[in-house]
Amino acid sequence: MTKPADQLSVYPQTLVGDQLLRFLPSADALRTVPATVYAAGVVVAFFLVAAVAPSLLQTHDPFRTDLYATLQSPSLDHFFGTDQSGRDLYSRVVQGTGQSLAIGLGAIGLSIGIALLVGVTAGLAGRRTDAALSRFLDVLLAFPNLFLALLFVAVFGATTTTLIVSVGLGCAPGYARLIRGQFLVVRNSGYVEAARALGHPYGRIVRQHIFPNAMRPLIVMITMGVGQTIVWASSLAFLGLGVAPPSPEWGALLDAGRNYVTVAWWLEVMPGFAIILFALSVTVIGQHLQDRLEGRVNP
C-alpha cells in the first residue's frame, strides 16, 4: 500500500549498506548510534544481568522481612524503599527481573512464533487454507484473553509457565491477524509483482520482500508487547491469578502495592518504573535497529 518516496527523502548516507555490517555495525556505524540508544543498551544490559545473576546487583536479601522497618520511603540504604513487611524493594525488583523478563519475552516469543506460523501460512497459502486458518484464528480470538488465562490457571495452577502460555496464546491471534493483514497488503505491492515477473520462486519472494516489509509494524508490537505482557500478568495478579507469593515478579509487585498508592507511592511507582524503563529501552533499540535496516539513520 505504501509507495516508496522519491528523492525528497534522500538522506546523507551511513555506512551500513553491506548486508552483514547492518547487523554487526562497523566502528563508523557505531559512531552514528545516538546516545539514547546507548543508554537503552545500558539499561537492557542491567536488566539482563539482574535476570541472570540478581545477587550481583542486590543490596539486600529480597525475601528478608523486617517487621520493624516496614513501608520506609526510598533512602540510601533502601534505594526503592521497603514494602509492607520491610523487604527491600530494590532488591525485590532486581530479583523479579528474571521471572518478569521470562514472562514478557516468553509470552511474546510464543505468541509471535504461533502468529508467524499461522499468519504467514494464512497470508500466503491459497484461498482455502487461508479461510480455514482464518476461521481457526477467529475462534481463538473470540475467546477473551482473560478466559484463556483463567482456564490455564485453573488447570495448571499459577506458575510462570502458565502465565507465559496463557498470555502468549492470548496474544498470538492478534499478532497473526496483523501479520496476515500486512501480508495481504504487501503481497499486492509493485515490487512483489516485479519479483514475480522475474520468475523468483514464491518462497524466495516471501523471504526477501513480503516478510521483511510486512513485519514492519510488528517490530513495534513486539518491543512494546514485552512490556505489555508483563502488565497483563500483573492484571492477572490483580484478579488473584498471579504467580505465588513471595515472588517479586514485577506484575505481582505492582498488584501488591496497589492498595498502598496513597501512603507508600514507591511500592507502585518503582516496579512500574522498571517495567516502563525496560519496555522503553527495548523499544528504542528496536526502533533504531529498524531504522538502520531501512537506512533511515541520520548521523
Binding site: 525475601f63 485453573a154 491469578l241 505465588a244 507469593p245 492498595n259 498508592v261 496513597t262
Partner: protein
C-alpha cells in the same frame, strides 16, 4: 450525643462481595438475609440466647424436646402469615434431600440430631432430638436459619434467589446485579429480636446495599460522602478512619484464621516439628504489621477470641522463639542442613507446602502474614512454599487430599465452641471430614467435644471445651493467626448501626441519621 432517633433517610452502604443469589448458605448472602429475615431466636454478644420470633421456649428434662412459643400476628412481607407451620415448612426444606432445597450449613450442624419437628398448634413449634445437643439454640440464631415465606419458597429457586421474602425490618425491592440491592423499610415490622435497640419498623426508609469490591474505591466512596457506611476499612486507612468515622468492629466467632498442620504426614506427624513451626515466627508482630493494628492477634488457633469458651492463655503458647524451634527440630532428627540452610532428615528437605485458596477466600493481609512467616521460618531451616489454588478448584476439592499439603490456612465463621464439632469430627466409616485439615483426630479429643456438646451444665461444658482447646493447641495441630473481624466505618451522623452475634451480621434496623 444520642438524642431521639430520627425517622427517614436512606442508608447507602458499601459492601464488599456480591453473592450470586440472595438466599444461599454463603455468608455474603447472609449479611443481607439478616436485613430481610428473622430467626427463631437471637444470641446476644455475651452468648445468651434471647427471644426473637420465639417469644419463649422450654427444654425438656432429657434435653431432647424443645417447645417454642411463636410470636403472634407476624406476617411475611408478602402477607403470608408467619406461624409455626411456616417455620416448620422452612425446617423441612433445609433438611430435605433435594439439592435445590437443602440448606447445607443447616444440615451440617443439626441434621444428625433432629428426630422430628412438628407444629402442634399454629403458635407452637416442637423440635425433638435424637440425642442432646447443647449448641442447638446458638446454631438456630445463625443467619442460615432465617425464616422465609413459604409462599415465596414455593415459587422455586430462581424467584427466591432474586427476591427472597422474609419478615425482617426490610424487604428486597430491587437487585441491580453488579451494582446494588435496594432494601426497603417494612412498615409493618413487629418482630425485632430482644437484642434490638427498639421494637417496631426501622427508622430509615431503606438501604442501598452496594457492592464495592475494590478497597480504594470503597473507602473513597466513604470519603466522598457517597456512602454512609462501608464494610471493612482497608488496613492502610485504619488510623485515619478511626479519626474521621464511627468504627464499629465485631470479632467474629468460630475459628480464627490459622494454619492447620497436617499431622498425618511427615514432617508434621511429629509433634516436635509442629511445635517448632509454631515457635518459628513472630506471629503477633506479623499480624500487627500486616493489618496495621486493625485486627487483634489470635494465637489460640482452635477458637476465636470472641467465643465465650475461648482460652486466652493459649494465645501465648508458642511465642516467637527460634532457639526453641531449632532445639525441637534437632531433637526430632532434622539436624542436617543443605546448602540453602534448609534442614534435612534422611535426605528429605524440611519442606512445608502451604496450600490455600487464592482470590477472595484469603485476604491480601493474610497472605502477607504468610510471607512473613515463610521468611522467618527460613532462618530455622524450614522451606515454606506458598501454593495458592484457584477458588473453583478449592471448592471442587482439588489439592485437599492428605498428601497434597503440609499446612493449610483457613477460618470458619460460627458463634462459639459449636464449631469444634465441625472442625474436629474424625473421619467416620470412610467419610473424610475435609474440615479437619490437620487430620488430627485422637479419640480423646472427639470425646471431649461430643461430651461438651451434650453437657448442659455451663461450667462443666466450658471446662470440657477448654480442655479440648488445650489438647489441640498443645499438640500444635493448628497455629493461630488472627480472627475474622467484621468492621463497619460509618459517617458520624449515622447512628446506632450495630453488628449482631453470632457471625457478625450488620444490623440497620436501629440505625438513624442525626440532623
Amino acid at each position: 450525643a444520642a438524642g431521639e432517633p430520627r425517622q427517614g433517610g436512606i442508608i447507602r452502604y458499601g459492601h464488599y462481595q456480591e453473592p450470586p443469589c440472595l438466599y444461599t448458605g454463603w455468608v455474603q448472602a447472609g449479611y443481607i438475609q439478616r436485613q430481610y429475615a428473622d430467626n427463631l431466636v437471637a444470641r446476644d454478644n455475651d452468648g445468651n440466647i434471647v427471644p426473637w420470633l420465639a417469644t419463649s421456649w422450654t427444654v425438656s428434662n432429657d434435653n431432647l424436646t424443645y417447645t417454642f412459643r411463636i410470636k403472634p400476628d407476624v406476617k411475611f412481607t408478602d402477607g403470608t402469615v408467619l406461624d409455626a407451620n411456616a417455620i416448620l415448612y422452612n425446617f423441612n426444606r433445609w433438611l430435605s434431600d433435594d439439592p435445590a432445597k437443602a440448606n447445607r450449613n443447616a444440615k451440617l450442624y443439626v441434621a444428625e440430631y433432629i428426630r422430628q419437628i412438628s407444629a402442634p398448634d399454629p403458635l407452637t413449634l416442637k423440635i425433638e432430638l435424637s440425642k442432646p445437643y447443647q449448641p442447638l439454640l446458638t446454631v438456630l440464631a445463625t443467619y442460615f436459619f432465617g425464616i422465609l415465606s413459604p409462599t415465596a419458597l414455593e415459587k422455586g429457586q430462581e424467584a427466591i434467589c432474586e427476591k427472597p421474602i422474609g419478615s425482617g425490618p426490610f424487604y428486597v425491592d430491587e437487585w441491580k446485579r453488579g451494582q446494588y440491592v435496594v432494601l426497603k423499610r417494612n412498615p409493618d415490622y413487629n418482630s425485632a429480636p430482644a437484642t434490638a435497640k427498639h421494637q417496631g419498623p426501622a427508622h430509615v426508609d431503606g438501604i442501598v446495599w452496594k457492592f464495592l469490591k475494590d478497597n480504594t474505591l470503597r473507602y473513597g466512596s466513604l470519603q466522598s460522602g457517597e456512602s454512609d457506611a462501608i464494610y471493612d476499612v482497608p488496613a492502610v486507612y485504619w488510623a485515619e478512619a478511626q479519626k474521621n468515622y464511627t468504627i464499629i468492629q465485631d470479632i467474629t466467632g468460630g475459628t480464627p484464621t490459622r494454619l492447620q498442620l497436617n499431622t498425618a504426614r511427615p514432617p508434621f506427624d511429629d509433634v516436635r516439628v509442629r511445635q517448632a513451626f509454631a515457635h518459628v515466627s513472630d506471629r503477633r508482630k506479623a499480624v500487627e504489621v500486616a493489618t496495621h493494628g486493625s485486627i487483634p492477634y489470635n494465637g489460640n488457633g482452635s477458637l476465636s477470641q470472641s467465643s465465650p469458651e475461648h482460652v486466652g492463655a493459649l494465645h501465648d503458647s508458642y511465642p516467637y522463639d527460634p532457639a526453641a524451634a531449632n532445639r525441637l527440630l534437632d531433637e526430632a532428627g532434622w539436624s542436617a542442613r543443605d546448602r540453602n540452610g534448609v534442614r534435612q532428615k534422611d535426605g528429605k528437605p524440611l519442606t512445608v507446602r502451604l496450600l490455600y485458596a487464592g482470590g477472595s477466600l484469603l485476604s491480601a493481609d493474610a497472605t502477607l502474614v504468610l510471607q512473613i512467616l515463610q521468611d522467618q521460618a527460613r532462618d530455622v531451616g524450614f522451606e515454606v512454599v506458598l501454593k495458592p489454588i484457584p477458588q473453583a478448584d478449592w471448592f471442587a476439592g482439588k489439592g485437599r487430599t492428605v498428601d497434597d499439603y503440609e499446612a493449610q490456612p483457613a477460618y470458619w465463621v460460627a458463634s462459639s465452641a459449636e464449631i469444634l464439632k465441625i472442625s474436629w469430627r474424625p473421619d467416620e466409616g470412610g467419610v473424610i471430614n475435609a474440615n479437619n485439615a490437620s487430620r488430627f483426630q485422637p479419640p480423646e479429643l472427639w470425646k471431649l467435644i461430643e461430651t461438651a456438646d451434650r453437657t448442659f451444665d455451663d461450667a462443666e461444658r466450658l471446662k470440657l471445651y477448654q480442655d479440648a482447646q488445650r489438647l489441640i493447641v498443645n499438640n500444635a495441630a493448628v497455629v493461630g493467626l488472627f480472627p475474622l473481624t467484621f468492621t463497619i466505618a460509618a459517617q458520624p451522623k449515622l447512628r446506632d448501626v450495630w453488628i449482631s452475634s453470632p457471625v457478625s451480621e450488620p444490623v440497620f434496623h436501629d440505625a438513624w441519621f442525626e440532623e
